[in-house]
Symmetry: C2
């Protein structure tokens, strides 16, 4: 479960935090949910965000995995609700399109574009982290339509400069 | 979304609260989740339960409805986690079997058996309420295997006395 936290000062966007909540060593679903809740809550306490955005997939492997994903998102949403932070959701396609201009972009393409947009040096080990950050950036673009348009053209400029990212 | 709260004193089980969180007039998923979180949290504050049990369906209409259900359960789970209340889950079949002895029992059969077990006078308008209560009772039986056995035989005795409930 990845997350990204961005700060907006005027027209300047800065990356505040980027990471994953590691759950593979946590046994049992209840304990995993507890970890997600506590970590999300502590990130909220630390960064005091104004808004929370999450991804809402339309397709899943199966109903069981969607129930688990829903619960995981539910506890993260509750952490926000407990601090009266409004929650927004975007489809994965919308997120990818917003960042790269292509709804079918790969995780790597999204990550590379985010690295350019936010000028962070080290690419995180887990692309779940940039996936989380992508939702935050998508929400920012959604709130500032003019800037989103710039991002679209930005992707083309980016491709010209980084042809290996294409396809 | 139904709930039931039971109190245990020695071997005596009593019904403390039974109801539904009405969401059909609440617009938007975020607001629905907020309502579930606040209502669950206020029930927890009021009744100070030791444990929370929820139902974990294995099948759903589609992945979208399971994602929504998962989120709804997630915020309710988070309300419990925020007060360090352990969370347990049971399949719908397990719940029905635990209450009536039959994994394929109808909502009405479950409700009627609960009415007998807990001696409540008025059947709630929404069977979602008795569905919620059934999970609480299932958890109680799970914790007290001897009592669960009594419940199985109780269902047969109940059928003899209430033949119209059969089938």
């Amino acid at each position: 479960m990845g997350y990204g936290i961005i700060g907006i000062t005027g027209k300047k966007i800065s990356l505040l935090s980027l990471g994953v909540i590691k759950l593979n060593k946590v046994e049992g679903q209840a304990l995993k949910l507890k970890n997600i809740f506590e970590k999300t809550f502590s990130l909220i306490e630390q960064y005091q965000p104004d808004e929370l955005a999450i991804e809402a997939p339309f397709y899943g492997k199966n109903v069981q995995s969607m129930l688990k994903l829903g619960r995981a998102q539910g506890v993260a949403i509750a952490a926000a609700l407990s601090r009266s932070i409004p929650v927004f959701e975007y489809s994965p396609k919308k997120v990818k399109q917003s960042i790269t201009g292509k709804g079918g972009a790969s995780k790597e393409q999204v990550a590379a574009m985010l690295q350019t947009l936010l000028s962070f040096k080290d690419m995180p080990k887990h692309l779940d982290a940039t996936d989380g950050l992508a939702v935050a950036m998508c929400h920012y673009f959604q709130r500032n339509p003019g800037i989103e348009k710039k991002s679209y053209s930005g992707w083309n400029a980016f491709l010209t400069e980084n042809p290996e990212r294409k396809g």
